[in-house]
């Protein structure tokens, strides 16, 4: 039985002439222990999909089964309890409460389980040790670097030992060093058997995923299974064929990086073609260019 199963899930925003189709009959099945990376251009519905899976939003149509049980139609309080016990969130903009210190932020989900303050602070401290920022536990979020805040956010997401970790562009605001630290942390969590769904624009990060899902215009257009440590084929091709961002793209708010949808490219190539190293790939691309 799949841990997450979406059957023809659609999400509409607005009404009348202003209706926007954010998700268009999306189908997805995620098994326990998978690390799924979701890629696609801005506005393709990645975050909406994550919000629906994370029970922050509900689908307009379709069925969502969480651990085999319908989850979309539940009452708000039941959904809140599922979020508390089974789902952990890591957001691009961290979403720590600025008036609480790192320890209090990390312990927050436990407060809603009715745990005593002493026990929850102890547990939060332990989990901060695991993510490597225990020495900063009494700092306010504003006194930490982006990477440290994101590690605190990951600690908060993990504190209830959730079965699913949803990370919506967790490295979107981080530099390369912090990105690596956070991704290694997520990889470590994945190795311990957690299911992770991560939205990213960075093809490099697909190395950590066991499956990559490509989205466009609210639909899942392609899926690719990858070996951990390898960049996903579709992500790589997209990366290599990327156009330079023009001022028009910037004005339109479109990510040039993900403008080329990988479906065609993937169809013309074997599904699990492995690229050994980045260096090899670059050499091959340059050779092609020279031929032309």
């Amino acid at each position: 039985m799949a841990l997450i199963e979406l059957n023809e899930v659609s999400k509409l925003f607005g009404f009348g002439d202003a209706t926007t189709l954010a998700l268009d009959e999306a189908n997805l099945s995620v098994e326990k222990g998978e690390f799924v990376a979701i890629m696609g251009p801005s506005g393709c519905g990645k975050t909406t999909l994550m919000n629906i899976i994370g029970l922050l939003d509900s689908p307009t149509h379709g069925e969502y089964l969480l651990a085999g049980k319908p989850a979309a139609g539940l009452k708000s309080n039941q959904q809140a309890k599922l979020r508390r016990d089974q789902i952990g969130f890591v957001f691009q903009f961290y979403n720590l409460i600025p008036t609480m210190n790192v320890l209090e932020n990390t312990a927050l989900p436990l407060a809603y389980r009715g745990m005593t303050p002493v026990r929850r602070m102890k547990r939060a401290s332990d989990i901060l040790e695991r993510v490597g920022i225990r020495e900063r536990e009494y700092y306010m979020p504003k006194h930490l670097s982006g990477g440290q805040i994101q590690r605190a956010a990951i600690a908060r997401a993990l504190i209830n030992s959730p079965s699913i970790l949803i990370a919506d562009e967790p490295t979107g605001n981080l530099d390369s060093h912090d990105t690596k630290v956070v991704m290694e942390l997520l990889a470590d969590i994945h190795r311990q058997g957690n299911t992770i769904l991560m939205v990213t624009h960075n093809p490099e990060l697909t190395r950590y995923a066991s499956r990559v899902i490509y989205m466009k215009d609210g639909t899942i257009v392609e899926e690719e299974e990858t070996d951990i440590g390898d960049i996903a084929q579709g992500a790589l091709l997209t990366y290599l064929r990327r156009r330079k961002t023009t001022p028009i793209d910037v004005v339109a708010g479109v990510s040039a990086l993900m403008k080329d949808v990988p479906d065609k490219a993937l169809k013309s190539t074997p599904k699990k073609r492995k690229v050994k190293t980045r260096r090899k790939r670059l050499v091959r691309t340059r050779a092609r260019k020279v031929k032309r």
Binding site: N51, G54, L56, D57, S76, N77, A80, K81, R83, R84, D85, F89, F91, N95, L96, I97, T99, L108, P109, A111, Y112, R113, G114, P117, R156, N160
Partner: protein, 405 residues
């Protein structure tokens, strides 16, 4: 569970101390006004009860106007207190002729100016009365004596200690003259300081009054009288009820059958005064309670602003598993804590005000446990009523909408 909510609420309120303090201010002012007014009323009541207690047990009071009605005198007509006096000199004369009433003490009240060679006092209570007054009201003199029956037509005066201080300073006023409404009176005595008054809705403090014999008091206002009350006492051979009956008959005659007077025994008087003070306290207290209402609206206003400002926080809390009820309780607790702390500070402020009133005025407010419980109850009620709407607004926010804010 509540402890956790309260602790979280205090922590949250501490992050915005200025705002929380200003929000509380409305409740602080409201609670302190209500407590001060109610304790002033309570103090006044106790003073009055004390005064009545000092009256001799067989002292009967005749008051102008029909103050009570009903078979047992249970219904009070408070407006009658505001009317001009219906008692006259004729009533005093007629009552004095009754054999069963050895003591008839008129209390004629005039507001006038008192002047000595040193100073002048405006709006002084001048009370024209008889020599039996000290005995009937439990008054005593510090210097000199009270005027006696022989001095009934003489221009002599007994002055309150405050008047003595203001008019003569450190001098002994005995033998000096005091000019009341242009007529000179020789000071014969100075009263001991006391909290006793005349139990009427006028300035009744004997400390700042000039007491003169009844006859001269009529003369200073051209022979007119303003009798606030006539105190009578039954003789040793007559029962109070018999005395009341006879006095009633006599007064009906002098008033040509019109019952525009009230004869009260001590307990009736007590009941009447209690009624008057309770009504006045309730009336002024309810006006003060309006400020509590305004304070409550202030709490609601600030809480609504806080909910809007903290929408993202609500979203985060919901994302990590807070239920609607838990969010509701969080904001509800914040409002409740604000009003409870405001209530406590209000009670504290009221105690300080009461202390200052006792120290620097002749008022003696009494703060008792029921008043404090009432104030605490009111502040809890205000907290509950005015926190509900903001808390509901916070709880009903959709998590994803709140996170996007």
């Amino acid at each position: 569970m509540w402890t956790g909510h309260i602790k979280a609420a205090i922590a949250s309120l501490r992050t915005s101390r200025w705002r929380s303090s200003l929000t509380m201010l409305g409740i602080v002012i409201g609670v302190s006004s209500v407590v001060t007014i109610v304790s002033l009323g309570e103090g006044l009541k106790q003073q009055v009860i004390g005064q009545i207690g000092r009256l001799g047990p067989d002292v009967i009071t005749i008051r102008p106007g029909k103050l009570v009605s009903g078979p047992d005198g249970s219904s009070f007509n408070l407006l009658a207190l505001l009317n001009t006096s219906t008692l006259s000199d004729d009533d005093v004369a007629a009552l004095s002729k009754l054999g069963s009433l050895p003591t008839v003490l008129p209390v004629n009240f005039v507001t006038s100016t008192a002047t000595s060679t040193e100073a002048e006092l405006n709006n002084i209570s001048v009370i024209g009365t008889g020599p039996q007054m000290p005995q009937m009201l439990g008054l005593s003199t510090n210097l000199g004596d009270f005027f006696d029956a022989k001095a009934a037509n003489e221009k002599v005066a007994v002055i309150g200690p405050d008047v003595a201080g203001k008019l003569y300073g450190v001098l002994n006023p005995i033998g000096h003259s005091v000019s009341v409404a242009g007529q000179d009176f020789i000071v014969r005595g100075v009263l001991n300081p006391s909290s006793t008054g005349l139990l009427v809705a006028a300035q009744t403090d004997f400390n700042s009054a000039v007491l003169i014999p009844y006859q001269p008091s009529k003369e200073i206002v051209g022979g007119k009288t303003n009798l606030l009350q006539i105190l009578i006492q039954a003789g040793p051979n007559a029962s109070p009820d018999q005395a009341i009956k006879e006095a009633h008959e006599v007064l009906l005659k002098t008033h040509q059958g019109a019952e525009d007077f009230t004869i009260l025994k001590q307990h009736q008087l007590l009941k009447l005064i209690n009624g008057v003070i309770n009504s006045a306290t309730a009336f002024i207290g309810s006006i003060a309670a309006i400020s509590l209402l305004v304070g409550g609206v202030g709490i609601m206003n600030i809480m609504l602003a806080s909910v809007s400002e903290r929408t993202r926080e609500i979203g985060i809390r919901k994302a990590v598993g807070a239920t609607n009820r838990q969010i509701l309780m969080q904001f509800f607790s914040e409002g409740l804590v604000l009003s409870l702390i405001g209530g406590a500070l209000g009670i504290g402020l009221a105690l300080v005000i009461n202390l200052l009133l006792r120290l620097y005025t002749s008022l003696e407010p009494v703060v008792n446990v029921p008043v404090i419980i009432l104030a605490a109850g009111i502040s809890v009620l205000v907290g509950i009523i005015f926190s509900t709407a903001p808390a509901l607004k916070a709880a009903r926010k959709h998590p994803i909408d709140a996170l996007r804010a």
